[in-house]
Symmetry: C2
DNA sequence: CCTTGACCTCGAGTGCACTCGAAGGCAGAG
DNA sequence: CTCTGCCTTCGAGTGCACTCGAGGTCAAGG
């Protein structure tokens, strides 16, 4: 089974515009298959891939790096160590960022507590 | 004691350019005091404020909202409930985003485990 | 007196990641 | 045969958050 770009957009939560953009910018593993009319026809493998790169994006990986990762996958078997290194470097950055955000959030929550007290006093 | 913009930049981890930009864009509580020569002179209260808005920024609050928060603080006592609402809304967004990132990271770590296996097989 | 260096303002430029619009193709419904 | 609607490409436009550079001021040091 295959999906139109509108259906793929619906399923992935991206817009059709963004799906085309990702493809032309080299974020897809391979170019998406086309129907007789030249329309994109997404299959499950495409959706799985889009889901992965969306997770990479949502965790802050720049387009540039997603592109790099896609190029490695496109290049085929043999560069697993490089893919691993790329993902692990990303993982480290995400963990660090998570810690940072948690810690900043703590400070903000402290501020919230203070305002909470102030607002209660007023009531 | 007061600091030059270079010292303030050093202390806050922002650049002098960014400090000026924040000020002209209305992110400061108040305009920074000036020396006789017209140079900015940052005091501890300024640094504390910058530290707060940096935390807001680092947790993903848009400049627009920081500006709004600064305006409330500038307006003086009486709008604590609004400030609280703004910060709590931000807190909710950050918590949600934290969950999302954690969950996506889980999926990425799963992928890493797979590559880890593949790379080990190869060795 | 002159130079150096840190600061000033203003406005333009940059990088990123989309986001949109114009102009056109093609299949199916009436 | 025409209309509707979804798709196509290409290139330009947008929003955000800086980031930079030009041209100028001023105080201190030599």
């Amino acid at each position: 089974m295959s999906l139109t770009i509108a259906e793929a957009a619906e399923r992935t939560g991206l817009t059709a515009h963004t799906l085309r953009y990702y493809e032309r910018d080299g974020l897809m593993r391979t170019a998406v298959r086309r129907s007789a009319a030249g329309h994109r026809a997404y299959d499950e493998a495409d959706l799985t891939w889009i889901s992965l790169i969306s997770k990479l994006r949502a965790t802050g990986m720049p387009i540039r790096d997603v592109k790099l990762y896609a190029a490695l996958v496109r290049a085929g078997t043999g560069n697993e160590a490089e893919r691993l290194a790329l993902l692990e470097a990303h993982r480290q950055r995400v963990l660090q960022q998570l810690d940072e955000v948690r810690s900043h959030l703590g400070a903000i929550e402290h501020k919230i507590q203070i305002y909470h007290g102030a607002v209660l006093d007023r009531a």
